[in-house]
């Protein structure tokens, strides 16, 4: 059979082979030497399992049906059997879908042969253990029975001992291939075949079922739709139909159940199929379930997503700014303390899971990193400074792309691992390899929903269950839930609808909006390529324009009715306190905030000028008063470091300080009418005086006012950025080259053609850069090259090659001189020249 498959594969056109390796890239890593190798790899258990994982429910059902039916299977028989499982009539969509699916399975080399004799590829039968929940065929199920026991069973159900002659059915209408059991029963094989033939006859099975009690029928019904095996004590009991009493006895004695172990029984496939009324599947849909959910205005959804994208970008920036000044520590096991996460959540005004998402994405994007392994702190990286100055749309694209591709799972923050350790945010183990794939597939599902449809979580899960029936489980379900929740938070979706800019992030997204994709046109990764550039372009017009003005009001607030330009935003953050954020920002001027601005070296005039310049309305008088008031008092007192003194040009003010009882703990001493010295440190003194209601300024040794500013810090550490994994499968030229190589190898393999001898003369020499270029060119054109190569023993050899692919410092090529595919280390290629 394997040779049959190989021959079939060899007979496929190059186009078909290219489609095969493009859809199953694992078959050409590394490139097999010949078609036989390709066939072998295509039927290896791991490769089959991988491709089966990618099948949707209908394609899988087609394959399962094929496996269940006795070979060879005609296309019509296959269709007839599948049609039984359809809930309605077998209409046009079913026929089209089946035709396409069979073709696709052929392309994937999961089934082969012409329509009149379809067969599952080698390895498929083994990979599909219990197809559609059916038990093994009788011939296999009764493998462990002794010939004597088999004879008893055959006798009990066929009515004859020795297994000769026709079964004594009432109507005797069992046509079937009974030749097998016409032969005298000489051993297990014969007995099993006789039994299989009997069970393969519907009339016999129907009669046997009529004989058993209703309880026994109920037991069978339990197993009908799988799982087909059950547990009973003493499964190998030797009971005869005539004396069987208990339901299980009745079933065992009539071979309606087969004992597969001391305590396990299984429903033979033939019986199972009979009970299912000939159907292999209970209900089958050739089309994926339609995505259901509330309908939204797509424009509004886009805008909502854009608003959320803006908010998310801003949250990341806010987080980094906060961590610049006040970084949280790195836990010993890595990660961020729960307390710090809570603080971030409060700071960002987000629920904890969303704050965790902000932190994880910022980390994955390399904007924050641990400053060191011992007593480290989480600090923004230099990359943050580069990110910060970009436009909002670019910043968002950087974050969203990273979210889509990262293996981190922020949703698991707070979970416990197998060893019951808490998984904190930024914990090294807060990851799973399938995270990125689940995110992409889940968003891919949203992408095929109709315009404006916001599919509900249950509907997305149902669709995924149809699209990838073999990839399921609680863990994936959770990841899907996280994905939808996080996509909304990031602004990839808005109101549950995939936004235009979110769609553009997806690899090779289908531009057409067909909500129903019969059978799917293969892997959506085919067309490949991250289109991040367009995501930013789509997002930009949806974002609010940055403003350069605010509205000043008499209650000492400033309202920025939209995002501000960077300079104004930083200035306001210094001179005012933020009261509320969102679409707009509300700032409040107070004594404290203005003092901060004055401390940072701004004068009252500067502040007022700045306000006037950026106010859409006249500066309210109370605000002017507040600024001049604070400025007037600011710096009226000066405090020095060296001796910790207070000096003031106004002696009465110092009188005031000296007279104030609260100054007692500071142990003040009046040095001069305008100077007080203290034994307290400068900071204590400053704080105490401020607490008493004064506004002293710090003074340097030279008598200048010290300008204070918040320390902004950066880590030296490298950001933990991994380049986003390329989404695309294989590029077309790689695929083509691989197929060419296999063909060439195969040709050589089959003809056992003599190795071509290398050209006479010294092997060519050329610089290594030229070598790589020439090889790349040869791969592209599919031409042969002559190279000089140092083999593993260090001998200089000369070869004629047909290069297939080049990666990781190695060249895979068909070696004409050795008539086989080999891998060559690039650094040992001494030179290259064209052939002919």
């Amino acid at each position: 059979m394997s040779t049959e498959f190989t021959e079939w594969l060899r007979g496929r056109s190059d186009d078909r082979l290219r489609a095969l390796v493009a859809a199953r890239p694992e078959l050409i890593t590394p490139v097999p030497a010949h078609i036989e190798g390709l066939a072998g790899r295509a039927s290896s258990p791991s490769a089959v399992a991988r491709v089966l994982d990618r099948l949707d429910r209908f394609a899988l059902a087609v394959l399962e049906t094929l496996v269940v039916l006795p070979e060879p299977v005609g296309y019509d028989a296959l269709r007839g059997r599948l049609a039984l499982a359809l809930p309605g009539a077998a209409g046009r969509p079913f026929r089209t879908a089946l035709r396409e699916t069979v073709e696709r399975l052929r392309t994937l080399a999961l089934l082969y042969g012409p329509d009149r004799a379809l067969a599952p590829a080698p390895g498929v039968r083994e990979a599909l253990d219990a197809p559609a929940g059916l038990g093994p065929p009788a011939a296999e199920a009764f493998r462990h029975h002794s010939p004597e026991r088999l004879a008893e069973l055959v006798h009990d159900i066929g009515g004859r001992t020795g297994g000769t002659g026709e079964p004594a059915g009432r109507n005797g209408a069992a046509p079937g291939p009974n030749g097998a059991h016409d032969r005298p029963d000489r051993g297990g094989t014969g007995g099993r075949e006789a039994l299989a033939a009997l069970l393969g006859d519907d009339a016999t099975v129907g009669r046997l079922l009529d004989e058993v009690s209703p309880q026994a029928r109920a037991a069978l019904d339990e197993l009908t739709w799988g799982p087909p095996s059950g547990r009973v004590p003493n499964a190998r009991r030797e009971v005869r139909a005539a004396t069987a009493r208990s339901p299980i006895d009745q079933l065992l004695s009539r071979a309606l159940l087969a004992a597969t172990g001391e305590e396990t029984v299984v429903l033979p496939r033939e019986v199972g199929l009979f009970l299912r009324g000939g159907r292999v599947h209970r209900d089958l849909s050739p089309l994926p379930p339609v995505l259901e959910g509330p309908a939204r205005d797509p424009g509004l959804a886009d805008r909502t997503a854009a608003g959320q994208a803006f908010a998310f970008t801003r949250a990341v920036e806010e987080l980094c700014e906060q961590w610049s000044a006040d970084p949280p520590g790195v836990l010993r096991g890595g990660g961020l303390a729960v307390r710090d996460l809570k603080r971030c959540a409060a700071l960002l005004d987000l629920p904890e899971w969303a704050a965790g998402l902000v932190i994880e994405v910022a980390h994955a994007a390399g904007l924050v990193a641990a400053s060191g392994s011992v007593d480290g702190e989480w600090l923004p990286t230099p990359a943050y400074d580069a990110w910060r100055v970009k436009g909002t749309e670019d910043r968002w694209v950087a974050l969203a792309t990273m979210w889509l591709t990262m293996d981190r799972v922020p949703g698991m923050i707070g979970d416990r691992d197998e060893r019951d350790r808490l998984l904190n945010a930024l914990h090294p183990d807060l990851r799973t390899s399938v995270a990125s794939e689940v995110r992409t597939t889940a968003l891919g599902v949203l992408a095929v929903a109709g315009p404006g449809v916001a599919p509900a979580l249950a509907s997305v899960r149902e669709r995924l269950a149809w699209e990838q029936p073999r990839r399921r489980g609680e863990r994936r379900d959770r990841l899907v839930e996280f994905t939808l929740r996080e996509a909304e938070q990031l602004g990839v979706t808005g109101l549950g609808v995939l936004a235009g800019h979110g769609r553009a992030l997806l690899p090779g997204v289908l531009d057409h909006q067909d909500p129903v994709e019969p059978g799917g046109s293969g892997d959506p990764r085919e067309s490949g390529g991250v289109r991040a550039g367009t995501a930013g372009e789509l997002l930009l017009p949806l974002l609010p324009e940055p403003l350069d003005h605010v509205l000043l009001q008499a209650d000492l607030t400033a309202v920025a009715p939209g995002p501000l330009t960077g300079e104004l935003r930083r200035w306001l953050a210094l001179a005012a306190d933020v009261e509320s954020t969102g679409g707009a920002t509300v700032y409040r001027f107070g004594e404290g905030s203005l003092r901060r601005a004055l401390d940072a070296g701004q004068g009252a005039d500067e502040i007022l000028a700045m306000l006037e310049r950026h106010s859409a309305t006249p500066v309210p008088q109370p605000l002017t008063y507040l600024v001049t008031d604070v400025a007037r008092r600011h710096g009226r007192m000066r405090v020095g470091t060296a001796s910790a003194y207070v000096r003031c040009d106004d002696p009465s003010l110092l009188d005031e300080v000296m007279a104030d009882r609260r100054s007692l703990p500071l142990r003040l001493r009046r040095l001069a009418p305008t100077v007080i010295a203290s034994k307290a440190s400068r900071q204590t003194l400053l704080d105490a005086l401020r607490a008493m209601g004064y506004a002293p300024a710090a003074e340097s040794l030279e008598g200048d006012v010290i300008i204070t500013q918040l320390d902004v810090r950066r880590t030296e550490g490298q950001p933990a950025v991994r380049p986003p994994v390329a989404f695309s499968g294989l590029e077309a030229d790689v695929v083509a080259a691989a197929v060419r190589a296999v063909r060439a190898g195969d040709a050589a393999h089959r003809s056992r053609r003599a190795p071509v001898s290398a050209p006479e003369g010294r092997p060519p020499r050329s610089p290594s850069t030229a070598t790589v270029d020439a090889l790349r060119e040869a791969i592209r054109q599919g031409s042969q090259v002559w190279i000089g190569y140092l083999d593993s023993q260090g001998n200089a050899t000369s070869r004629i090659l047909e290069p297939a692919r080049m990666e990781g410092g190695y060249l895979t090529a068909y070696d004409e001189t050795r008539a086989a595919v080999h891998r060559f280390a690039l650094h040992r290629i001494t030179g290259i020249a064209g052939v002919e």
Binding site: T304, Q308, L495, A554, V559, P561, G562, G582, G583, R633
Partner: protein, 548 residues
């Protein structure tokens, strides 16, 4: 991006740009479910609180309308989480209902069994309940109608009270609209209350809350108990009712420290109701003295805690609360909601001013500077004496005098906290002083003289903070106050906001000492008014003195 006037913030505040052409319609659309928090000149701030959403639910709005309004007027996309939260919060109201049952009296029912089970498990709720009636209901002791509503609100499942009201003893009352008519908003307010059954009407000072009360009584046509803040206010109510309604002096009783009359319409003060002797509220019987059909609470934001407790027992009677603000310094807004009722009507100050119902006002802060010796003394003063010291600086006397001289033809009120200071001022200005010890009769004589313009200047202590009607006070000078009370500032401004016969504006001076706690407190107090759109102008005392 749409160009709406509204910006929705992540902390559930709504910013409304006033100059925007759609600002007015937007304000109307969001007012039912958002509390106006601040209304300075350009951008008004509303807040969407659970109470505000439940108020909206009680007024018959649904989540759909709220979300439509938010999305329709918002300039930027509204965060989805916020919309979900709005819908969820609103859905909480009315899941539980208090209803009347022919057999079991008062019952708590629910359409959502899980919610009922949740609240039944609460240890605070359990003692208030009687027997379980099937899956969806439970009997409630009729006396606990108020308590259970309070506790359910705290649990976040406010109950809709559909148990109805007793009609009370009938008493014919009608409005006597001779020479005046009910203003549109007054009629709307009274009707909104009547349809809602019970609730609070929010109107600015000077907008005629007494008349709204009278209109409510005309709706009820029943004996009425009116609770007011103090005796003077009680007299005022009586005068006003006699003038505005068919009621005669004989039908209206006063229940105060001095008089204890119980008539078909009885006006009692909070003070007398909360007087305790030997730990017992002596005047509780008033509530049971008649079969009241309506209870009117004046100045709900000042309602003292004992009255809340008494009100909890009066849930079967119709209640109307009147107030200028739902902001309570003690944060008991939730109790107002569950015990008096949801907000039934609301109109912002500035709007009323624009419509000419209240006088426009200029607010001026005059800053005086302490002398050097005063500053020294101030620095040495005990913390608790500091405010008094700087608030009563003699410099304020001179400034007040100068300010009074600035307005020779207008009626001037000088308001202060400290009696010594007021006496001194009275002496300086040659004006009578009304303070706590002034006899009620004397007070009224002085008020009348002031009204009749026989007296131009009147010095009053905080006894005059509330509910006195001084229609022609055009100028108020505040020299000291109760520390940082925002609410007091609003009340005092209210003294001058009543429409003047000459249609002129009002002026409110606040004299404060520079660089002292006086200034800090003043800033705190003014914040409320600035947020209501009354911008303060700041001038220097020296300018006032030099300007003479």
């Amino acid at each position: 991006m749409t160009d709406g006037p509204l910006i929705v913030q992540s902390d559930k505040t709504l910013l409304l740009e006033v100059e925007h052409e759609r600002a007015d319609e937007c304000r109307k659309a969001i007012a039912p479910f958002a509390e106006l928090e601040r209304a300075p000149e350009h951008v008004h701030t509303y807040r969407v609180t659970p109470l505000a959403l439940w108020n909206a639910r009680a007024a018959g709005h649904d989540a759909e309308q709220v979300i439509d309004a938010l999305i329709g007027y918002s300039r930027y996309p509204v965060p989805h989480a916020l919309l979900v939260d709005v819908a969820e919060t609103m859905a909480r109201y009315g899941r539980l209902r208090l209803e009347k049952h022919p057999v079991h009296g008062l019952v708590l029912t629910s359409t959502d069994r899980a919610v009922l089970e949740e609240v039944l498990r609460s240890r605070k709720i359990q003692p208030l309940l009687g027997e379980r009636l099937g899956d969806d209901g439970v009997a409630v002791h009729p006396s606990e109608r108020g308590n259970i509503k309070q506790h359910l609100l705290k649990l976040g499942w406010p109950a809709e009270d559909l148990a109805g009201y007793v009609d009370g003893e009938r008493h014919p009352i009608s409005l006597a609209e001779d020479g005046w008519t009910l203003r549109t908003y007054q009629r709307e307010a009274a009707e909104a209350f009547w349809h809602g059954g019970s609730g609070v009407v929010v109107l600015p000072c000077g907008a005629g809350k007494t008349i709204v009360g009278a209109a409510a009584m005309a709706h009820a046509q029943a004996t009425t108990l009116i609770l007011v803040t103090n005796t003077v206010s009680a007299h005022q109510w009586k005068q006003e009712l006699i003038r505005r309604t068919s009621l005669t002096a004989d039908e209206i009783g006063e229940y105060t420290g001095t008089k204890k009359e119980i008539r078909p319409v009885t006006i009692a003060t909070y003070q007398v109701m909360t007087t305790r002797r030997q730990g017992v509220y002596r005047h509780l019987e008033l509530f049971d003295a008649r079969d009241w059909g309506l209870i009117v609470y004046d100045e709900v934001h000042l309602l003292p805690a004992p009255i809340f407790r008494m009100t909890a027992d009066l849930q079967a009677r119709r209640r109307v609360g009147l107030t200028a603000t739902l902001v309570r310094e003690d944060g008991r807004e939730g109790d107002v909601f569950s015990l008096i009722g949801p907000k039934r009507y609301d109109a912002p100050w500035k709007e009323m001013e624009n419509q000419g119902w209240i006088a426009p006002a200029d607010c001026v802060e005059v800053r005086v500077t302490l002398s050097e010796s005063e500053r020294l003394a101030y620095a040495m003063a005990d913390a608790e004496e500091r405010y008094r010291f700087c608030a009563t600086t003699p410099a304020k006397l001179r400034v007040s005098e100068a300010l009074v001289r600035r307005h020779p033809d207008e009626q001037v009120l000088v308001i202060g906290q400290y009696i010594d200071q007021l006496d001194e001022l009275g002496e300086h200005l040659g004006a009578p002083v009304i303070k706590g010890e002034t006899k009620v009769k004397e007070r009224e004589r002085l008020f009348q003289a002031f009204r009749d313009r026989e007296i131009q200047v009147l010095v009053v202590s905080k006894v005059a903070n509330f509910s006195i009607d001084l229609p022609e006070a055009a100028v108020a000078i505040q020299v000291s106050g109760t520390f940082g009370s925002r609410q007091e500032e609003a009340q005092r401004l209210g003294r001058v906001l009543r429409p003047k016969s000459d249609g002129g504006g009002a002026r409110f001076y606040s004299v404060v000492s520079r660089d002292t706690v006086d200034q800090d407190f003043a800033a705190h107090r003014q914040r409320f008014l600035a947020e209501q759109g009354y911008a303060y102008q700041i001038i220097d005392a020296d300018d006032v003195l030099a300007g003479e």
